[in-house]
Amino acid sequence: MNDDLLRIGEFEFKSRLFTGTGLYPDTATMRGALEASACEMVTVAIRRVDLSDRSSESIASTLIEGGYTILPNTAGCYTAEEAIRTAKLARELLDTPLIKLEVIGCKKTLFPDITETLKAAQILVKDGFTVLPYFTDDPVAARKLEEMGCAAVMPLAAPIGSGLGIQNPANLEIIVEQANVPVIVDAGVGTASDAALAMELGVDAILMNTAIARADDPIGMAKAMRYAVEAGRLAYRSGRVPKKLYATASSPLQGIIGSKHQ
């Protein structure tokens, strides 16, 4: 499916699976999982350098040498102001216009604060960022984010890290139907069938972290997710049969042995 490229702003991807880099037991497992997933874009978080403890292994060399497109996030921000500050530091750090905008409104559910998200998106788009906003699966918010100039919209499928799967397929379908920018499911996928289902609904890509990093075998799960995303995408493009209540035989009804008719 080399003709099936995904374009986000000025970036182009063959893989429709984006992965996070958090929660892995160690860097070697992360490296193995990223390779097995065949993903081309990975998310990272921006944090203070720990001045008293420099012992923690850096993932920077793995990601840079791996040639991955790096998508910094604003995770941990609760206001537009904090998110914009983080985005500007990320741009300086990584020399990229890409930003995964995440403004959280609730510590327990990690659901986004839509008012602050819209506010931050508007300012960041004007400042030249390629903005990929995480938001609740709300078609109205999706439309507003697109109209503001976001390069993609990233509805959640379920709460971050919950693994609950696609909670509201109907909303995702509506968002896909009306969108003129890529729709990326961000958060909530638990296993391969969730990823395939989302892709079959017509979303353009999936971003996941916990489902891979916290699996018993992250490298195995990364591979499963790769195939699930590819299979779901191919099924979507191939046009599924309509659902019917009753059976339709697959074999000819004529010439059945022993029948009284021809």
Binding site: R85, E92, N209
Partner: protein, 67 residues
């Protein structure tokens, strides 16, 4: 000596010092970081031409694993 607030901690350094000197003093000379001085980003090209003053608040960030 000059007192700076670096990543929320009070620290003293030899004076005068610029951003480049601060990063070297912290052992971050070769690390990929971004720097804010009093909430303004200091572009990498300006590290050596940005002198620091008493009570400056400095943020030094890098990227870590995240989703």
């Amino acid at each position: 000596m000059i007192r700076l607030i670096v990543n929320g901690q009070e620290r003293s350094f030899q004076s005068p010092i610029d951003v480049r000197g601060l990063l070297d003093a912290l052992g971050l000379g070769d690390t990929l970081v971004a720097v804010e001085r009093n909430r303004e980003i200091v572009p990498r090209a300006e590290y050596a031409s940005t002198p620091l003053e008493e009570n400056d608040e400095i943020e030094i960030v890098h990227f870590v694993g995240g989703g």
